[in-house]
């Protein structure tokens, strides 16, 4: 077997591989920056017993960022640590926290992790440190899996309580009187992976922190926050938005790093005219097999649950052909929806080397400990540079060589990145932002806050809330009397509010093959409609099932083992109604309306796609009720009275249709880079003559109930998004438009096919898409040269700060 450096050398000499590489970046080895155990205030050192415990684990000095964290905590500062994966981040909070707990026997700390899996990891890590060093610090996990027999002792005697935001929200805060001892002596709150809390989830998190602070204040404690983040554009800003107080940033990484190769790979064109490239699924499989055969531990990231299953099964199939009597190379799929036991077993297999390769969704992007891997293959570049680095960083150890291959899909975003590798390497990753005053989210948490502790009139909850309280009073759930707002309903509000998505419900997937009745997985309800409708093919760890019944009312899905040669992909239809306009802007001579929308989506049919070739074998019907969502959106109106509209009117009828369809695709694909969201977080739909505005109109809306502020942020970013779109068109090598720029006929297996509004079907309008869009953008944007100067931002999403 060859080692990784041999393999990389071979690849470098392989012209067919190299011709597809747009950039081969070698990040040299970095030596560590070390520090002795720091001297804290009043010439104190870390507690001797803690130092001994560290020395027992072979730690006799610290990385500079760890020492910096100890000093910041000692000074009573709130701070956020930003360093790459595997840089010893956990000690940045464990050291100062344990030091304090050892000095002050009453002190307590709360650790919040975004997932239960990470909590388990941290519990194990802390146990090692605490038990190994005989430190009198009790660490308790308190989450949905904690048996009630252990809950009392966690509350009463846990010095470090490890939990997650959901449990804090629905279990701990509403029952705070039971936690009096804990809250009254709470000194540290640790929030790891804080970059996860952005967008909707982040807005929930900010409100949850508001509630947490209120409760601490009630019990007379003022805990300090220690946060950790993966590399994002604005870690300090995001942390400050979530905590709503200033924090110190610690971002000088002192940990050493092995040499790392980052390879940007654009699959070869199969048909240059239509812009069709080799599929990323097969390319990822081919590359992974090449390395796995040589014993290189490899992780492949796929963009969707279905892709994850497909790539894993393709890899296993091709390995089986060559190693029929040799089961040494074991490759697993990994994604949300597996049963916890299955996931733990795969994680453990990766750590102990029993599993050699894994194909995962972004579920493994987070800091779950899966040991050292040598190679990461990204089958499709994630929608954000931050995620790309997270995923690429999954391969890499402190002192040895590692590599990441980023395979670009035909999506415009990927094509942009693969053709602008300098962007990827030189730019800060995107910024994260939250909109805690999102009306739905704020109101939900306000209910919880009043339930937890009556609110004094005029008391701020992240800002004034009198009006909202008045509304809740009319709804009859709270009561205002004696200048105080009281909870006045028999319900327990946090029970009905989920932090993660609009619905709290999961559909349970049951295998009923041959009279069996066995739960094999689960899926959130909205995804269930799109993925496990009746007659859908459901793939689970390499096994294939056919859905026989989807019972949304009882949240059950029955599947049976099947043997067909295709998988399924649903087609979603969307219908939008404007409920209320509340803002009007003019940017670049374009009239923009902002308001509340009602978006109705229906999954009406599905495609059958053949395995391996991904060719379309036919359609099937889906009979499911439509989904209604009340959200925020913007309407880009080409009003002929305004300049943009006038330019638009100047195009002939066919080109108008082409131009607006192309613009929709461009916006859908480019905007996520500027707004730090995923493609699916934004809905885009175009109307050549919109019944509401009477003009050609492009709708861009927030794909979350109530809105997450994406639509409002979109307005500020519009000039940059349009210029980036134009540049994308100009640089694209295709002739008449391709999936990489303005869209084209659906590319087989791309999975990015966008649903155009009514009037946009038929192949006749497809030729000329690109030219139409280019003409529109050129005439429109060049006319505003003066007005652009102060608003326009360079095509550098990472540098832009959201909504400032």
């Amino acid at each position: 077997m060859k080692d990784l450096s041999d393999l990389l050398r071979t690849l470098k000499e392989d012209p067919s591989f190299l011709s597809a590489v747009t950039r081969w970046e070698v990040i040299p080895e970095t030596p560590g920056v070390y520090s002795d155990f720091p001297v804290l205030g009043r010439n104190r050192t870390l507690e001797p017993t803690l130092q001994e415990a560290l020395e027992k684990r072979g730690i006799s000095r610290l990385y500079s960022h760890q020492a910096e964290s100890c000093i910041a905590a000692d000074r009573g500062e709130d701070f956020v640590v930003v360093t790459p994966t595997a840089s010893g981040k956990t000690l940045c909070y464990n050291l100062p926290v344990i030091d304090r707990l050892l000095r002050d026997p009453a002190a307590k700390a709360l650790y919040l992790f975004p997932t239960k899996a990470l909590s388990q990891d941290q519990q194990a890590e802390l146990n090692g440190l605490v038990e190994g060093g005989n430190l009198p610090v009790k660490v308790s996990t308190y989450d949905g899996d904690t048996p009630s027999s252990l809950r009392v002792s966690a509350r009463e005697t846990g010095r470090i309580v490890i939990s997650n935001p959901d449990m804090l929200h629905s279990g701990i805060l509403p029952n705070h009187p039971k936690w009096i001892k804990f809250f009254s002596s709470l000194q540290f709150i640790v929030i790891d992976e804080i970059h996860i809390y952005r967008g909707v989830f982040g807005s929930h998190m900010t409100n949850l922190i508001r509630r947490l602070k209120r409760i601490c204040e009630f019990y007379g404690s003022r805990p300090r926050f220690i946060c950790c983040s993966a590399t994002i554009g604005n870690p300090r800003e995001l942390t400050e938005h979530i905590l709503e107080r200033p924090v110190k940033l610690i971002d000088r990484n002192g940990a050493p790093r092995g040499e790392k190769h980052l390879i940007m790979y654009n699959p070869p064109l199969v048909d240059a005219v239509q812009g069709i490239r080799k599929g990323i699924t097969n390319e990822a499989q081919r590359l992974a097999v090449r390395f796995l055969r040589e014993g290189i531990k490899t992780i492949v990231f796929a963009r969707s649950r279905v892709r994850t299953e497909l790539i894993a099964s393709y890899i296993n199939k091709s390995l089986a052909n060559h190693f029929t009597d040799n089961g040494r190379i074991k490759v697993e799929a990994y994604r949300g929806g597996y049963l916890p036991g299955e996931r733990r077993a795969i994680e453990k297999g990766l750590r102990d080397g029993h599993v050699h390769g894994v194909v995962s969704t972004n579920a493994l992007e987070l800091g779950i400990d899966i040991g050292g891997l040598d190679l990461a293959i990204l089958s499709g570049i994630p929608g954000s540079v931050a995620s790309s680095w997270q995923q690429a960083g999954r391969a890499g150890r402190r002192n040895s060589l590692s590599a990441a291959i980023l395979i670009a899909s035909v999506s415009p975003t990927d094509q942009y990145l693969v053709n602008h590798p300098e962007y990827f390497f030189s730019q800060n990753p995107e910024s994260g932002y939250v909109d805690p005053d999102n009306i739905y989210i704020l109101m939900d948490h306000l209910k919880c806050a009043v339930f937890e502790l009556p609110l004094k009139n005029g008391e701020s909850f992240g800002g004034p809330v009198d009006e909202l309280l008045g509304y809740l009073e009319e709804e009859g759930v709270i009561r205002f009397t004696g200048d105080i707002w009281y909870w006045a309903d028999r319900s327990y509000p946090s029970e009905q509010i989920s932090l993660r998505s609009a619905t709290t419900e999961n559909v349970v997937i049951i295998d009923t093959t041959g009279g069996r009745h066995e739960v094999i997985g689960e899926m959130d309800k909205p995804s269930a409609k799109e993925l496990i409708f009746e007659n859908a093919v459901y793939l689970h760890r390499g096994e294939q099932f056919m859905v026989t019944r989807l019972d949304l009312e009882n949240l059950k899905c029955h599947v049976e083992a099947s043997q067909v040669n295709y998988y399924t992909d649903s087609v979603v239809k969307t219908d939008i109604k404007v409920l209320e306009e509340d803002r009007e802007d003019r940017i670049l001579g374009l009239k923009i309306l902002t308001g509340d929308l009602l978006v109705r989506t229906q999954v009406a049919k599905f495609k059958k796609l053949k395995f391996q070739t991904h060719e379309n074998l036919g359609y099937g019907e889906i009979f499911l009720p439509e989904e209604e969502m009340h959200t925020r959106g913007v309407l880009l109106c080409f009003d002929p009275e305004e300049r943009a509209g006038a330019v638009f009117q100047g195009l002939d009828t066919d080109n108008q249709r082409r131009a607006i369809a192309a613009l929709g695709t461009l916006v859908q694909n480019v905007a996520p880079l500027f707004l730090l969201c995923e493609r699916r977080d934004l809905g885009v739909s175009e109307r050549i003559r919109d019944p509401h505005t009477q003009w050609p109109t492009l709708y861009v809306y927030d794909n979350h109930p109530g809105g997450t502020g994406l639509a409002d942020g979109f307005i500020d970013k519009l000039p940059a998004i349009l210029h980036a779109s134009r540049e994308l068109i100009q640089r694209c090598p295709c002739g008449n438009g391709c999936p990489s720029c303005v869209g084209a006929q659906e590319t087989a297996g791309d999975g990015n096919g966008r649903d155009h509004g009514p009037g946009f079907t038929g192949p006749d309008i497809m030729p000329g898409l690109k030219q139409a869009a280019d003409t529109l953008l050129e005439k429109w944007l060049s006319g505003e040269a003066d007005g652009l100067a102060e608003r326009d931002e360079p095509w550098v999403p990472g540098k832009t700060s959201p909504g400032a």
């Binding site: 009306i439 009556p454 028999r490 327990y492 509340d582 509340d596």
Partner: protein, 390 residues
């Protein structure tokens, strides 16, 4: 913080989406909190807090110095004798049915025996701001007692009161709980569909209430009262609550009598009763369990046999097992007997007879159990000199 600016408009939209046609009057004009009129028969004792004291002639429950009920509840504690006057019977009505910090008590009642009569003090909180005063009135009524008699108070009323005190910065001095739910479950589980206070009252105390309301309706009535101040809605709540406290007192007396054997003809589970008696009055327990065993209750017989064995009363234990084995073919009893004959009395043939009877019965033991019996059979055959192998 863009969306807060447009709050009014957004709220308007929300309202339309939520409850069409409901036009609210906004949050700026609100009346100052005013004292509502007293509910008839109630006295305002603090701002927003009303009190009603009623006296009832109830048979004074036996509260013997060595109460078997207290012994059953606290088997390992030495209790100082207390008079019946030291018991406080209490119950709360709350705004929510689940726990959590937003659930509070708006009605509290404490009953006590005084001068041969039963006196119930009810406190009613007519609006939230009075809660501090409400607790100030309630706490002394409770803290001057020694035992707190309740129904499910240990897991509901007391923790709730603890939370309320904490949130109002008051200290709850807790007393020994006598939660009648636990003995009630022992005595009546399986006899009725549930062991709620209402069921027990109906089935055991044969008491019927006029005008009673289901418990789930209570928070709703209180919230309606807060809105329109019509005390008529609460009348049934007040009487329901008072009746609950009277029932507590009656139930305590009934349970003590049951445990002492002074009451016949009341449905009860003899097994549960026997076990309850065991810590306080062993002879009474044996008597009850014998009675149960005699009427064919296997649980009684097995428990009694085991207890007698541990007490060294082997002969009596064997009699219990014999009966159980012979009459009901119980294999646990058979095993006890086989062990007894084999190891105690060395009467191998007698033991073997039982073992073989078990193995040849119409539905013999299966699997591992069967193997254990067969091993025992082989061993006994050897010991009795009857081994097949020779």
């Amino acid at each position: 913080m863009g969306s807060r600016k447009n709050l009014s408009r957004r709220l308007e939209t929300l309202r339309q989406a939520g409850s069409a046609g409901q036009s609210g009057k906004g949050g700026d004009q609100r009346p100052a909190p005013e004292a509502p009129p007293s509910p008839p028969g109630w006295q305002e004792t603090a701002p927003l807090v009303y009190r009603k004291i009623t006296t009832h002639s109830l048979p004074t429950p036996l509260a013997p110095a060595d109460s078997p009920l207290l012994k059953a509840l606290y088997p390992t504690m030495v209790l100082t004798p207390q008079a019946v006057e030291d018991y406080r019977f209490f119950d709360l009505e709350t705004t929510g049915l689940s726990g959590g910090a937003g659930n509070l008590a708006f009605l509290a009642g404490v009953g006590r025996f005084r001068g041969g009569l039963f006196e119930v003090t009810q406190l009613f909180l007519s609006d939230y701001p009075g809660e501090g005063a409400f607790l100030d009135l309630l706490l002394p009524l409770l803290s001057d007692g020694v035992y707190w008699v309740s129904y499910n108070g240990r897991s509901f009323d007391t923790p709730l009161l603890r939370s309320r005190c904490l949130m109002n910065r008051r200290i709850l001095e807790e007393r020994m709980p006598v939660d009648l739910l636990y003995p009630a479950r022992r005595l009546w589980r399986g006899l009725f569909p549930d062991c709620s206070l209402g069921t027990v009252e109906r089935e055991i105390l044969i008491k019927s209430r006029e005008l009673d309301i289901p418990g789930e309706e209570i928070p709703h009535r209180y919230f309606s009262y807060l809105r329109d101040r019509n005390p008529g809605l609460l009348e049934p709540v007040f009487s329901h609550h008072r009746e609950d406290i009277l029932t507590l007192a009656a139930l305590l007396g009934l349970m003590e009598k049951l445990l002492l054997g002074l009451l016949e003809g009341v449905p009860r589970d003899l097994y549960g009763l026997g076990r309850l008696c065991m810590t306080g009055n062993q002879e009474r327990a044996v008597e009850v369990l014998q009675q149960g065993a005699g009427s064919g209750d296997t649980r009684c017989a097995l428990f009694l046999g085991g207890w007698l064995k541990r007490e060294g009363r082997r002969r009596e234990a064997v009699a219990v097992w014999e009966a159980l084995w012979k009459r009901r073919g119980n294999t646990t009893a058979a095993r006890e007997l086989a062990v007894h004959w084999e190891h105690r009395e060395k009467e191998y043939r007698q033991a073997l007879e039982i073992v073989q009877a078990v193995l040849t019965r119409p539905f013999p033991p299966q699997g591992r159990e069967k193997e254990a019996w067969e091993r025992r059979e082989q061993r006994l055959k050897k010991k009795a000199g009857l081994s097949d192998n020779r």
